[in-house]
């Protein structure tokens, strides 16, 4: 039971707990805040995996942008801000049951995999160097195409979001 494991267990517990809270909280606002906590936990997990860059980017993108957007949406739709009633459909426990079964099945299936209990090797210094990642992203033999595609996707999402969200009523006069 090394320190790493302790940290992992804590982080995992926080993540899962807050995730469960996020999907079951009655007030959407709380759900959003729980989501933030869960995402922080994931960031910690990333840090444990020595992907510190992505830990920070996780905080930046998810907490700094996405969760704030979610909160924004919650604020903009007042019903979800004030709605106190049950936020889940009727047969939710069926889904829960089924998902638990699926989870157990998946884990069971995976546990037959020989590398199930693999241990991490030493990470070469270059692997944590962000310059390498950057070069990979813009390397024609690397990931240039997905990179460009995702950037175009982002642009399209930007335009689409603006177009969808803009209030047409303002443009009438």
């Amino acid at each position: 039971m090394s320190g790493m494991q302790v940290i992992f267990l804590i982080a995992a517990a926080v993540t899962l707990g807050s995730a469960i809270a996020a999907v079951s909280a009655r007030k959407m606002l709380h759900a959003a805040l729980w989501l933030v906590l869960a995402l922080l936990g994931v960031a910690v997990i990333f840090a444990l995996l020595e992907a510190s860059f992505f830990a920070v980017v996780q905080v930046l993108v998810y907490i700094g942008a996405i969760s704030i957007l979610v909160i924004f949406a919650v604020m903009l739709s007042r019903t979800s801000l004030t709605d106190e009633g049950s936020q889940t459909n009727r047969g939710w426990w069926v889904a829960a049951l089924g998902l638990v079964i699926v989870l157990i099945g998946v884990v069971a299936a995976l546990s037959l995999w020989p590398k199930w209990t693999a241990m991490p090797g030493a990470l070469p210094a270059a692997a944590t160097d962000m310059a390498t990642l950057g070069k990979q992203l813009v390397d024609p033999n690397g990931y240039l195409l997905p990179f460009e595609l995702s950037s175009i996707l982002l642009l399209a999402a930007l335009v689409g979001a603006i177009y969808t969200a803009v209030d047409k009523k303002e443009e009438k006069p």
Partner: protein
């Protein structure tokens, strides 16, 4: 190393030797030292804030032709301490229907987010919290956390002014982060690293000389990020009583207060680190304490600039703010980034003066072009009058003929 030259490392060394002498394990010693360092850093920051508050009030007094605090101590220097004591002793009021958890969590996040920024800033050639290889990204990220606190405050305290302030905080944050990150990439480009310390080390010529426009944009956006005038939409007293912190009292309010001042000084700190060469200065390599002094001097200068702007420029309207960001800052910073990348690739690094002059020329060119385009756009699309100005309040028996268009 001598104590005078580099006190921090001196103490660190001494402590570690001491602890190890007591038989503590190396990792434990490291842990202890980290804790002590963090505590010292945050406490120093907080106490520094006290001084900042006094300074700001004094300077604000000068700007507004007042005396400012002048009763307690010489030049009223103990005024903020008195305020602190008052705040400590005040009662905590939690409004009914408030959302307890966010309401109480918000001030902590606000201060914590700001303090977390101090962790990666190199104060001297040898003194820094952590030498994080992605410090810049980290800065942006924890800055987001600070604004998260504001949003939570706005949502938690069951108050429509606070909620509106929260809205504005979200809009503000989401918008102004974009050009900020974009222009922060330019120093990163020059130094070839995301680490703050490397950025400082690489500034033989301060980045502000290489990228004046980027510095300007970063300065503006950082003011907007920490909601200072003229971007203080989220605590616009005349519109929403005091914004997100209406419902707060006592130390909770005090924390917001501290966070505000600390945030703006942190912005100055970051600015001087990224663009003004941080601790760089004559003799700073050999005598780190000098570097610390330089850094404080530079950031005080920038902070004074921030104050100057705060006390002289009136507040924007929210739509003006959004337009200013999305229609001016973001495009110009995008163009600037692209052009700078290309130019810097073209010119060898050792021809310093040519490099500087070319960068200046290009920046000025971009600025002028943007200005031209903007003015042309304003000519072609003049701002349309949304509402007629309100009629003057007048006694019922006096007839004032009101021309169409509203002016009397």
């Amino acid at each position: 190393m001598s104590f005078l030259a580099d006190p921090v490392n001196f103490i660190t060394q001494w402590l570690s030797t001491l602890l190890i002498g007591w038989g503590a394990s190396a990792s434990f010693t490291q842990l202890i030292l980290y804790i002590i360092g963090a505590g010292a850093l945050t406490l120093g920051a907080l106490f520094f804030t006290v001084f900042l508050i006094w300074l700001e009030r004094k300077i604000g007094g000068r700007f507004q032709d007042r005396l400012g605090p002048n009763r307690l101590g010489p030049w009223g220097i103990f005024q903020p301490i008195a305020d602190m004591l008052k705040i400590f002793t005040k009662e905590y009021i939690t409004p009914t229907g408030a959302d307890k958890v966010p309401f109480n969590l918000a001030p902590i996040l606000a201060v914590g987010g700001v303090l977390a920024m101090w962790a990666v800033i190199p104060y001297a050639s040898t003194v820094f919290g952590v030498n994080f290889n992605i410090g810049v990204v980290y800065l942006i990220a924890v800055g987001a956390i600070g604004d998260l606190g504001i949003i939570m405050a706005g949502l938690g305290s069951n108050n429509k002014y606070a909620l509106l302030s929260g809205f504005r905080a979200v809009a503000n944050l989401i918008s102004y982060e974009v050009p900020m990150v974009l222009v922060l990439l330019i120093p990163v480009l020059f130094s070839g690293s995301l680490g703050m310390n490397d950025i400082v080390k690489s500034q033989q010529t301060w980045n502000i000389f290489l990228a004046p426009l980027a510095a300007l944009i970063f300065f503006t956006t950082s003011i907007a990020e920490n909601g200072r005038a003229p971007f203080d939409l989220l605590e616009a007293d005349s519109e929403l009583v005091a914004g997100f912190n209406v419902e707060y009292s006592g130390l909770k309010f005090g924390m917001f207060y501290v966070a505000d001042f600390l945030h703006s000084f942190t912005a100055a700190l970051v600015f001087s680190t990224v663009f003004l060469g941080g601790w760089r200065g004559p003799g700073a390599e050999t005598i780190p304490i000098l570097g610390f002094v330089y850094l404080i001097l530079k950031s005080s200068l920038v902070y004074f600039l921030i104050l100057h702007i705060r006390f002289t420029i009136p507040r924007f309207r929210i739509d003006q703010m959004m337009d200013f960001n999305w229609k001016f800052l973001t495009p110009i910073s995008l163009v600037l980034l692209m052009v700078t990348i290309v130019i810097d690739k073209l010119i060898p690094t050792d021809l310093t003066f040519i490099r500087i002059s070319v960068h200046w020329a290009v920046n000025i060119l971009i600025w002028v072009a943007a200005d031209r385009i903007l003015s042309a756009a304003l000519k072609s699309h003049p701002a349309k009058v949304v509402a007629r100005p309100r009629p003057l309040a007048r006694p019922p028996h006096v007839a004032v003929d009101e021309k169409p268009g509203g002016e009397i």
